[in-house]
Assembly symmetry: C2
Homo-oligomer: 360 residues x 2
């Protein structure tokens, strides 16, 4: 069996011991005589898997009791529509803070359903940082304020929650959920596609304060109504059972690591390894303001872009994969989610050093 | 390793050799050094998996070139909304033929978005057959006619396509897709949740004639617009990669079996084994009109419902699982999808005989 060091932005590397457990019980889960893929979602076997996953997530993230946890489908992109469908509650507008392409997309999709106020944007700075909160033009009548706490493409991350003056804060946490402890009570709603820190693509987590749901836009299908999904334990119809199960194994893995404080310390260490090397080596550049740099996605460019192809080819030969930057920004990107090991990051740094030595 | 005989209505039993292949390549797909769960959907590895799955499905179902094949999320229930969002094309109403609870649900959800004409319903007959086509009150101005070719709960199946007088026929084929050859050109749109004959839950197949798409209801999100999904090869956002991959393995398994003609013959044989026994034994009853009986879901009742619990307990002890009927109809239900073997059905019949002998 061959295993590469996988820096893909998502779907992304998963903890090896989670994959090994999935493999071991693939034909017969816990003596049930079935694969998890074959279980009715109404059976006690799957119900136990589903409930344990929710409980473990609640424990790991310390989610208050007045928040619902939903397991949905459609990825963050579906949530771009579902958030305004559910959270306008009679209001007509929402504030969006745009710090990268994903926040920009979220705002564009929401604009189909409500008046979107771009309260702040760093687009003029090519998304290399977070606009000063004092400059934000927040609307006190907004239904919510939407942020993207980590921009996967640009490598920009909020390291603290902004003060939204009492307006519910909504966060697309797809690419940094579970990377560190977060005070959930500061958010009205958190959503995240699974395929970075949670598990395989195909399941989407929504964590929402229960007083915010129950009033949707007219003609909202039940399947897209958070209240109805919550009231049916995310089983209004057949859920994505297998992805839900793998997510549950990842939550248990986080607990075994010691929880989010330990994970966060490891992530800090991994990011520092890489940024410190980049900052100390003229051949590589990361354009993001230091205080706003992402601990999950590290974009960088080579001094000579003509060497990009050679860099990627050599990386692949060294077993380092998924390093090509997003087409919209070019260069390289190392995604170093929870399941990326310190050793994996060190291998990348070693390769980058060697590349400078031989080709720089 | 223990394996039960699984008669669950869905998620349901999968071909053992498909599960074995998934298990074998779970940590390292085809020498890539990654699990399929870890692959970027934009990488050539996953692209090859995705494209092969579509090609194999096209081949197995003989899908004409002017049909798009989409791999979506949200199950058939999401399609209950997406069908009217996409197919009204300026019209205001659609015809629904209701032959069970699923068709009734589809009509109810569609009624949020358009005028639904229940052109025929067998509800007064407790969904024990398909209303005579001559009695259907079809509207020639309907945008489409919706049928549920197989009703999973009631065990009622269309064995031929109705004539809709030129109005596009739309079919929720969730529980009988791939169970027999179908002339796709007779349909405007076919949709199916995966968790019966396709693969694990979490992926939904849509097969749609390309001239019917491109005009949606206002404010339809791109993610729910068949045309935009088609134009982006079902990768407008991250798709449910792992479920898509397993579906592809099931399509290859169908090809290895000899295709849908062979599958259909096996399914006819399995259904006949069970229905012939039920019809010849007073203790068991199936209420559906013989010509409309499902080859996928066989509901039956015991002469004495007080023995239901004992029947199920004994079945479980004999390794036969998932036989409890849907709560809305009671009794038993044996779902005998493609992956259920003839031997499995024979074991059920043997158990039913033994139960009559000892407890009937």
């Amino acid at each position: 069996m061959k295993r590469i060091v996988n820096f893909s932005a998502g779907p992304a590397t998963l903890p090896l011991e989670v994959l090994q457990q999935v493999q071991a019980e693939l034909l017969d889960w816990n003596g049930s005589g079935m694969s998890v893929m074959e279980m009715s979602h109404r059976d006690k076997e799957f119900m136990s898997i589903a409930q344990a996953a929710e409980q473990d997530l609640r424990e790991v993230m310390n989610i208050p009791a007045n928040y619902k946890v939903l397991f949905m489908q459609g990825g963050a992109t579906a949530q771009f529509s579902l958030v305004p469908m559910n959270l306008l509650r009679g209001k007509t507008g929402a504030d969006y803070i745009v710090t990268g392409d994903w926040g920009k997309k979220a705002a564009k999709v929401a604009a189909q359903l409500c008046t979107v106020n771009i309260a702040a944007s760093s687009e003029a700075d090519k998304f290399t940082g977070i606009p000063e909160p004092s400059s934000w033009k927040l609307d006190p009548n907004a239904a919510y304020v939407h942020i993207t706490p980590n921009e996967t493409i640009h490598g920009v991350e909020f390291h603290t929650e902004p003060d939204t003056l009492g307006v519910p804060l909504v966060a697309d946490m797809s690419s940094n959920i579970l990377s560190r402890p977060v005070d959930v009570s500061k958010y009205g709603l958190i959503y995240a596609g699974a395929q970075k820190n949670i598990g395989p693509s195909g399941v989407t987590i929504v964590i929402v304060r229960e007083d915010l749901i129950g009033e949707t836009l007219p003609k909202t299908p039940a399947l897209f109504d958070y209240k109805q999904v919550a009231d049916n334990d995310s089983m209004l119809n057949t859920p994505p059972c297998f992805a839900w199960y793998v997510a549950g194994l990842v939550f248990k893995w986080i607990k075994r690591q010691g929880g989010l404080a330990v994970i966060a310390e490891r992530n800090r260490h991994k990011a520092a390894l890489l940024y410190d090397y980049i900052d100390g080596e003229d051949f590589y550049t990361n354009p993001v303001r230091k205080v706003d740099r992402s601990r999950m996605n590290v974009p960088f460019t080579l001094a000579n872009p003509e060497l990009d192809g050679e860099f990627l080819k050599g990386a692949k030969a060294a077993g380092l994969s998924g390093l090509k930057g997003h087409r919209s920004v070019g260069g390289m990107r190392a995604s170093i989610y929870n399941a990326m090991t310190i050793e994996g990051v060190q291998q990348l740094v070693d390769y980058m050093k060697e590349f400078v030595r031989t080709r720089g």
